[in-house]
């Protein structure tokens, strides 16, 4: 099993390329306003440090932006896109708000629950999938839908969910 917890015990660091990206992000704001780059840099940290933000990751971000750790913690815990606990390799964030509900999002969530045998908020024991029921993602006309990584998976049906899960499993075994 992919042990995300242990991996994050060692202090994470950005590579030289990633540090260049941080520098580019900071340069978008006036001198002395580097705190503005906090959310973009946290996105970068989450992307490169295993899909979530450990305390060590947050402390590291605080150090490179010259902020107090608390300034990072309070932001990381406020915004719903930041995971402060480990998540699976593939995170299914299914929208459950009104317009998606009118188009059967409840059925899609139940189907994924059964299929993966996890409840919203949980991760499969193999560390592959996390299911989240989330609020409006701005795709109401293409409902029901979910976010999967960088992309939106729209017009979901049970068959489409099956295909997505198969693709994820395939992708994961190819990468190993």
């Amino acid at each position: 099993m992919h042990n995300m917890k242990e991996e994050n015990l060692t202090a994470p660091v950005f590579s030289a390329d990633q540090l260049e990206e941080v520098k580019m992000l900071v340069s978008r704001y006036p001198d002395g306003k580097q705190k503005s780059a906090l959310i973009p840099v946290l996105h970068l940290a989450q992307k490169h440090f295993g899909g979530w933000l450990s305390v060590a990751s947050m402390d590291y971000v605080a150090s490179i932006l010259n902020l107090k750790p608390i300034e990072v913690y309070e932001v990381a815990t406020f915004y719903s896109m930041f995971n402060t606990k480990p998540v699976g390799k593939f995170v299914f964030e299914v929208c459950q708000t009104g317009p998606c509900m009118l188009n059967g999002s409840d059925d899609i969530i139940s189907y994924i629950r059964e299929k993966l045998n996890i409840n919203p908020g949980e991760t499969t024991p193999d560390g592959l999938f996390t299911l989240k029921a989330v609020e409006c993602l701005g795709a109401c006309g293409y409902a029901p839908m979910m976010q999967l990584g960088k992309t939106y998976q729209e017009h979901l049906t049970k068959e489409k969910v099956d295909r997505i899960i198969e693709d994820c499993i395939k992708m994961s075994s190819e990468n190993n």
């Binding site: 978008r28 006036p30 306003k33 705190k35 503005s36 780059a37 906090l38 959310i39 973009p40 946290l42 996105h43 902020l67 300034e71 309070e74 932001v75 406020f78 915004y79 719903s80 896109m81 930041f82 459950q96 708000t97 009104g98 317009p99 509900m101 009118l102 188009n103 609020e135 409006c136 993602l137 701005g138 795709a139 109401c140 006309g141 293409y142 409902a143 976010q147 960088k150 992309t151 939106y152």
Partner: protein
């Protein structure tokens, strides 16, 4: 076919890219604007009667004219692309398919306001949309449309995207500014307004994506011509994102003279309700605006045809009317349950409350809990009055309008569908077994 100003070129292949956008007349508006003085550009926007397209409908020219201009202090333009109001997905559409329209509108607006650095605050989930906009910015910069001395005008401007990270509250302009400063999205107490003290304490204008895009055709045809389109104070065109139980969900540009009935049933727009179902209710301006039953939606209380514009939709106030809002048009067919749907919205507002003001932080939680009881066959008749009482105590008692946004859908649902709430109490077993409410609110099928 109504007049189109924003989406007229949307089907041109490759319009997403600078080359095609320019071939189709793109950035001519910017050239024209740069040949005028900044205050002349502002004057055109004032004359156009353009109203903020994010939801509040405040006159854009007036908002711009409030911008403080102290010597030696930078001014900022910030584009609000934190589109998160349930039912709304029009800004995403613009940015995804015709990003240069926003960029051109932003350069013109930055020129009018004297902003040399402008930001686009995009909701974090629109990750791939941010990539598209970033790419468009790079192309525009390479072509000399951004950067120093734009088109030899002497005007310098840079535009940067800034991704949020999942917080509906950041669509409120002062919360957005806090977030852009790298903090939690807690709305600020106004005054001071952003026009005086905004981003990093400097004078700032925050405008919605569609508002800034609309500046492009305004400069081309002129403010006066723009004001002739539409009706009354609903000038120009409006993007409507239609969703829910309709045949053709999507983003439509309307000129605000068409009726609600035509919008729902015409094949040019929503294309009617699927499976031969009847229309029960509609939330025409994003989840925060009052829901209306079919009879009050298609005709006002006075029996007049209701139109898709600011004045007509709000005819009758909150007693019998609703609001244009963001244009997030959510249609509910006869099978939908108002209690269940409003529960979902209450859960949304509870999740999204920033927690700063107790009426909202505690009240939204209570709304969700009491709704859950009713929907799950555990409710009492007094719970309906309790819901009414809670929403009344939230409305108007918070720093920002999220409290109102949480209260209004609840008030309207009880006002117009009270017997469906009562039915959930008198038919506890039945409402556990089925997901739909009472169909008698639905309109007869159109002939």
């Amino acid at each position: 076919m109504g007049k189109k100003l924003l989406l007229d070129k949307i089907n041109v292949e490759g319009i997403r890219f600078l080359e095609v956008y320019r071939r189709e007349g793109g950035y001519e508006s910017l050239k024209k604007a740069l040949s005028l003085k900044p205050e002349e550009v502002l004057e055109e926007v004032k004359k156009s009667g353009l109203r903020g397209r994010g939801g509040a409908g405040f006159p854009t020219g007036l908002k711009w004219s409030f911008l403080a201009r102290p010597e030696g202090v930078p001014r900022y333009l910030v584009c609000n692309a934190d589109e998160s109001e349930p039912g709304t997905f029009k800004d995403r559409y613009l940015m995804e398919f015709i990003p240069h329209l926003l960029i051109e509108g932003m350069i013109i607006s930055s020129y009018a306001l004297g902003s040399n650095t402008s930001y686009i605050y995009i909701r974090g989930e629109y990750d791939w949309v941010t990539d598209i906009v970033d790419e468009a910015i790079i192309d525009a910069r390479r072509a000399g449309l951004l950067g120093k001395n734009i088109l030899n005008s002497g005007f310098d401007c840079e535009i940067y995207t800034h991704r949020g990270a999942g917080a509906y509250i950041c669509g409120e302009e002062t919360a957005l500014l806090e977030s852009l400063e790298g903090k939690r999205g807690l709305p600020r107490i106004k005054p001071p307004f952003p026009a005086v003290k905004g981003l990093w304490g400097c004078p700032t204008v925050v405008n919605n994506v569609e508002t800034l895009a609309a500046v492009v055709p305004i400069m081309i045809i002129g403010g006066e011509e723009y004001a002739k389109i539409g009706v009354g104070k609903s000038t120009g065109t409006k993007l409507i994102s239609a969703c829910g139980n309709i045949n053709k969900p999507g983003v439509y540009e309307i000129d605000m003279t068409i009726s609600v009935e035509e919008f729902i049933y015409s094949d040019e727009y929503c294309g009617g309700i699927p499976n031969g179902k009847r229309l029960k209710a509609c939330i025409p301006g994003g989840s925060s605006v009052p829901v209306l039953p079919a009879n009050l939606l298609l005709k006002t209380a006075a029996g007049e045809t209701r139109f898709m514009n600011y004045e007509s939709l709000s005819d009758g106030g909150f007693q019998t009317g609703t609001m244009m809002g963001s244009g997030g048009f959510i249609v509910l067919d006869e099978d939908q349950c108002i209690v269940r749907h409003t529960l979902s919205l209450s859960r949304f507002y509870h999740h999204e409350s920033c927690g700063q003001c107790s009426p909202c932080r505690e009240g939204t939680g209570w709304l969700e809990k009491v709704f859950w009881k009713l929907e799950n066959g555990k409710g009492d008749l007094k719970d309906i009055d309790l819901l009414w009482d809670i929403q009344r105590r939230i409305e108007g008692n918070t720093i920002c309008p999220l409290g109102d946004a949480a209260a209004w859908p609840v008030a309207a649902a009880i006002r117009h569908f009270r017997d469906e709430f009562e039915w959930h109490v008198t038919h506890r077993e039945e409402c556990l077994k089925r997901n739909y409410g009472l169909a008698h609110y639905a309109d007869p099928l159109p002939a």
